[in-house]
């Protein structure tokens, strides 16, 4: 097990290196620079700026410098937010996005799985149809519409929650719900189809032939096996949700990481793009590692290579 994790960490470093390299060069290949904008800067000032940020040096020097500083967890200064480093941006934005994301994840996973199970156990009955209509709506309604809808109904009309801003837990409920809707609907559908697939298996018939009750069969023999696909979906999902959503953060005025990411791209804020991308990469890779470990714990057929037999 430790050996397996060690090897996976090594692969993660390799993947990260590739991500860094790819973003670095892709960014340079894109037209325009951090200081090109509507207002043309005087050439001397632009030259000074380039010099200050080291953009005038040959690309390989910039590249290796960057690698070294990243290895020291230093993403450099932001080009656009004067006086702030990218580390500052991440340190300020990520906890907010993470908190919101976790809340959304809990909602999405909890409700999604519950809905999927109810639908599957009542296959082709009204509960099933109801849950699936709900799920299709959840998948097809974009999050910004959902966000406005929640704001309108729950905040403005009913006054249950604050409309926007980031001040207390109550402030986080609506954005978390808006953020959770689509993944929840997706998880509900995934759980349902996976449950139905498991229920058609021979070993479910064996369980029935043993005289187990419907409840025992569902809990012991169905859910665990049905959750495997859901678990693998959780890797990319959690990375995406935890690093923040530009749209939701904009609508609710939340100072998270998501807005920095999008803004930095339109601003050509090289260091911020790089920093946030690398950070996103780290979160994604760790989430995937966690998922694989969880998968190995749930499904005994999957031996985490290098691990001992049976855990």
């Amino acid at each position: 097990m430790l050996k397996y994790i060690g090897r996976r960490l090594l692969y993660m470093l390799l993947s990260l290196f590739l991500i860094i390299t790819a973003t670095f060069f892709l960014m340079r290949a894109a037209p325009g620079g951090p200081f090109s904008g509507e207002k043309q800067l005087p050439p001397e000032i632009e030259k000074n700026l380039n010099e200050f940020y080291g953009l005038d040096r040959p690309w390989y020097e910039q590249y290796f410098d960057y690698l070294i500083s990243i290895a020291q967890w230093d993403f450099g200064p932001s080009f656009k937010y004067k006086g702030q480093t990218v580390n500052d941006l991440i340190n300020n934005g990520f906890p907010v996005s993470f908190f919101l994301g976790m809340e959304a994840l809990f909602i999405a996973v909890g409700l999604g799985i519950l809905l999927g199970i109810i639908a599957a156990l009542n296959h082709n009955k009204w509960q099933d149809y109801g849950a699936m209509v709900f799920a299709v709506m959840g998948i097809s309604v974009p999050s910004f519409i959902m966000a406005s809808f929640l704001q309108y109904v729950l905040a403005i009309k009913l006054g249950l929650f604050p409309v926007a801003r980031w001040e207390s837990f109550m402030h986080s409920v609506l954005p978390a719900l808006a953020l959770a809707t689509t993944p929840m609907a997706f998880i509900a559908r995934l759980t349902r189809s996976s449950m139905l697939e498991v229920l058609s298996n021979d070993y479910i018939r064996t369980a029935k032939a043993k005289g187990l009750s419907k409840f025992q069969i569902t809990v012991r023999h169905t859910i665990r096996n049905a959750l495997l696909p859901v678990v693998s979906y959780l890797g990319p999902l959690s990375a995406q949700i935890l690093t923040g959503s530009f749209v939701i953060e904009k609508i609710f005025g939340i100072p998270g990481l998501g807005s920095h990411f999008v803004l930095s791209i339109s601003n050509r804020d090289y260091t911020t793009i790089m920093g946030v991308t690398v950070f996103y990469g780290i979160i994604l890779l760790s989430a995937m590692l966690l998922v694989d470990i969880a998968y190995g714990l749930i499904d005994p057929r999957i031996k985490l290579a290098g691990g001992k037999k049976g855990e």
Binding site: Y203, A209, K210, G211, Q216, N225, P300
Partner: protein, 355 residues
Amino acid sequence: MEKLLEVKNLEVSFQTYGGEVHAVRGVSFHVNKGETLAIVGESGSGKSVTSQAIMRLIPTPPGKIKNGQILFNGEDLVQKTDKEMEEIRGRDIGMIFQDPMTSLNPTMKVGRQIMEVLIKHQKMSHAAAKERAIELLRLVGISMPEKRVNQYPHEFSGGMRQRAMIAIALASNPKLLIADEPTTALDVTIQAQILELMKDLQKKLGTSIIFITHDLGVVANMADRVAVMYAGKIVEMGTVDEIFYDPRHPYTWGLLASMPSLDSDDKKELAAIPGSPPDLTNPPKGDAFAPRNPYAMRIDFEQEPPMFKISDTHYAATWLLHPDAPKVEPPEAVKKRLRKLSSNYEKPILVKESE
């Protein structure tokens, strides 16, 4: 002998998009205490549906037991509630299925899957159940059972999984074991071992067995009696000797003629029964076997043959047993094995509906 199970006029059908499939159309048979009844017949003849009906495992909908009684120890299982059936399944009736590779839950330890039965039906504690699971694994011939209880199905071979299935089915000493083609998915040597194990355990535990197969070859040394099914009906039923040495139904003849026999060394090609079974959505009017029956007479296409009784234990549903029917010779392969059985009546007796 005492009857453990008596199935009377069982009818099961499935509602499908193409119409109602009459999978089992009035089946009656019984199983005595401690004996083995084999049910043989081609694919689709309704063997599995019959056995699932006994366990009340027919998926409803689309399936439905439309008619009949299933008397187990004198109690009608058709009338039982789901809760009452849960008590009977696994405790009084155990079941083994065809494919051992898919019949066990891949993410649960084999021991745990056996223990479930013991905890549910014998109200055993966790520790006692584990002890017993180890004993059961040893009983079904799995070596190092202390280690094996903690393993998962994928660590077992196919034969071992079927042994584990047998351990599950026999865990609470059921009075009846239903084995639905338990060896079809296994290779020949393993097949023989599993059959040997079942016979052995039956002797030890006194379990009655319903043994479902489409292979007449294994019937001879497994079963006491044989029921031959065709298109949802039992067309002939008798002791093993009666079915093998004095078969009366042309379908049984066909099955016997298509069976490779060890004693005949001439390698004649096996005569498979030509044609295919009827569509059970619209069962034919007369004898369902008539279109494939070289001995079919006009009446076979018009009226269903009644049951005739050839001895106390031997029944067959064919017009050939009617006193007015012409005398016909069975195929060569069957004729060779015919014997005169002393238990036969002078003449086949028409069985009245009420029986």
